[in-house]
C-alpha cells in the first residue's frame, strides 16, 4: 500500500464579516487543484479556527478578512497557534488588506497575503512549494 498524503487546508472567515464569496471560490478552486479543503464559513473566532485546525490536522490555515479587522484576527490566530503548540501550520491570508498591513502581517508570521485579483495558480504554487511532500 502506498499512502499518498494530500495537503490539507482550512479556509475560515474570522470575525463579523459576511463577504464569503472569495473564500468559497478559493475553497472550491483549491479542491480542484487537488487539495483537501475544510471550509468552516463565516463568523469564526480565532479560538474556534485554531481548535478546528488542530482537530483536523491541517497543514495550512487560510484566513479571509474583508472587514478591516485583519490585524486583530490574524494576530490572535497566530498567538493561539503558538499557545497550543501548532505554530508549524502555515498561515496565509486574503481579503481587503492594505499594502502597509501586509508587511506587518508577514512580520508576525503570516506566510503570505493574497489580495483580490490574485491568480489561483499563484496560491496553489505557493502552498505546494511551502508544504513539501515526497
Amino acid at each position: 500500500m502506498s499512502p499518498e498524503k494530500r495537503i490539507k487546508i482550512l479556509i475560515a472567515k474570522p470575525g463579523l464579516d459576511g463577504h464569503d464569496r472569495g473564500a468559497k471560490v478559493l475553497a472550491r478552486s483549491l479542491m480542484e487543484a487537488g487539495f483537501d479543503v475544510i471550509y468552516t464559513g463565516i463568523r469564526q473566532t480565532p479560538e474556534k479556527i485554531v481548535k478546528t485546525a488542530i482537530q483536523e490536522d491541517v497543514d495550512v490555515v487560510g484566513l479571509s478578512v474583508l472587514s478591516g479587522a485583519h490585524m486583530y484576527h490574524f494576530k490572535e490566530v497566530i498567538r493561539l497557534l503558538k499557545k497550543y503548540g501548532a505554530a508549524d501550520k502555515l498561515v496565509i491570508g486574503g481579503g481587503i488588506i492594505p499594502e502597509a498591513d501586509k508587511k506587518k502581517l508577514e512580520k508576525i508570521g503570516v506566510a503570505a497575503v493574497f489580495g483580490p485579483g490574485t491568480d489561483i495558480k499563484e496560491i496553489v504554487e505557493f502552498i505546494k512549494n511551502r508544504i513539501k511532500r515526497n
Binding site: 479542491m31 487537488g34 471550509y39 474556534k48 481548535k51 483536523e56 490536522d57
Partner: protein, 290 residues
C-alpha cells in the same frame, strides 16, 4: 490539548493508509457505540448530528464525529463542509469532529473508517457518529460498520415503490424524516411505513419526524436511539465480524483502486487487444505478469 494532537496525528496516519492495530480492541468486550447517519445530500445529516451530539455531550460522554465528504474523481481533492453545520459544538471539550474525504471509495465511506472508529475508541470516545457522504439507494456499507443505521430523508421524497425497493431501506434501523417544519411528515411517512420490516434481532424500524434546525423532536429521536441499545448489544458479535470484513475488503479495494489509478490504460488496452481475454488482462493488471 496534548491528547487532541495525538488523536489528530493518528487519524492522519490511518487516513493515509498506515496500519493501525485494532485486533485487541476488536476482541474486547468494551465496544464503542457507532451511530451511522446516511441519506441523500442536503437532507440535514450534519445538522441533525450536531443536535444529537449536543444532547449527548451534556451527559459528559465523550463523543466523536467522523464526517465523510466526497473526493473529486477529477482532481483527487476534496471539499469538506460538514463542520459548518456543527458550529455549536466547537467549544465542547468532550466532542471531537473529524472531516474525512471518501477518496472515491464507493458506499460513501473512506476506506479506513473502521480503523478511525477504533482510534477514537482507544482515546475513550465511546459514542461515535459516522456520517456518510450524501448517498442514494444502494449504499448499504454503513450497516457493516455502524451499530445503528439512521436513514435521513425529507418530506415528499418518494412513493410506495421507492419504499419497497431493495437497498438502504433494508438496513435502516431508524428512518428520520427531517425538515418537517417545511413539509408534511405524513405525506412521506405513509409510504415509508411499507419499508419497515422487523429485523432479525426483533427490532421494528421506527419512523421519526424531526426538524433538526428548529430542534424539534430531537429528544424523541434520542429516546428512540436509547430504545435500540439492547438490540445493538444482541448483535454485537455479528457487528464485529462485519467491521472486520469491511476492513479486509476495503484494503483489497484500496490496493486495486490504487493499482488501476496508476495503470497506463492505453498500454493495458493493447494487452487486451493482443490477448483477447479480459481475464488475462485483469491478471496482468493485478500481478504484473503477462
Amino acid at each position: 490539548m496534548n491528547r487532541v494532537y495525538q488523536i489528530a496525528k493518528l487519524l492522519t496516519l490511518i487516513e493515509n493508509g498506515e496500519e493501525f492495530d485494532v485486533s485487541d480492541m476488536l476482541m474486547s468486550k468494551d465496544q464503542p457505540f457507532v451511530i451511522g447517519l446516511t441519506g441523500a445530500p442536503g437532507t440535514g445529516k450534519s445538522t441533525l448530528i450536531s443536535k444529537l451530539v449536543k444532547q449527548l455531550s451534556k451527559q459528559k460522554k465523550k463523543v466523536a464525529v467522523i464526517a465523510n465528504d466526497p473526493t473529486s474523481k477529477i482532481s483527487k481533492g476534496s471539499l469538506l463542509g460538514d463542520r459548518i453545520r456543527m458550529d455549536e459544538l466547537w467549544n465542547l471539550d468532550n466532542v471531537y469532529i473529524r472531516s474525512v474525504p471518501s477518496r472515491g471509495r464507493k458506499g460513501g465511506l473512506n476506506y479506513f473508517v473502521v480503523e478511525m472508529i477504533y482510534a477514537f475508541h482507544k482515546f475513550g470516545y465511546s459514542n461515535i457518529f459516522v456520517e456518510t457522504t450524501g448517498v442514494g439507494q444502494d449504499e448499504v456499507e454503513i450497516a457493516d460498520i455502524a451499530d445503528l443505521v439512521i436513514n435521513v430523508s425529507v418530506p415528499y421524497l418518494g412513493d410506495e415503490i421507492q419504499s419497497i425497493k431493495a437497498g438502504l431501506n433494508e438496513v435502516t434501523d431508524i428512518y428520520v424524516i427531517n425538515k418537517i417544519d417545511l413539509g408534511s411528515f405524513d405525506a412521506y411517512a405513509k409510504y415509508l411505513y411499507l419499508a419497515v420490516k422487523k429485523n432479525a434481532w426483533g427490532w421494528d424500524p421506527k419512523i421519526v419526524g424531526v426538524s433538526a434546525i428548529k430542534n424539534k423532536n430531537v429528544d424523541l429521536l434520542i429516546k428512540t436511539i436509547q430504545d435500540y441499545v439492547p438490540v445493538y448489544k444482541k448483535k454485537l458479535n455479528q457487528t464485529i465480524i462485519k467491521r472486520f470484513r469491511f476492513m479486509i475488503t476495503s484494503r483489497i479495494e484500496h490496493i486495486i483502486d490504487t493499482k488501476v489509478e496508476k495503470t497506463d490504460m492505453n498500454e493495458l488496452l493493447q494487452h487486451y487487444i493482443k490477448s483477447k481475454s479480459l481475464n488475462e488482462t485483469v491478471k496482468k493488471l493485478i500481478t504484473g505478469i503477462e
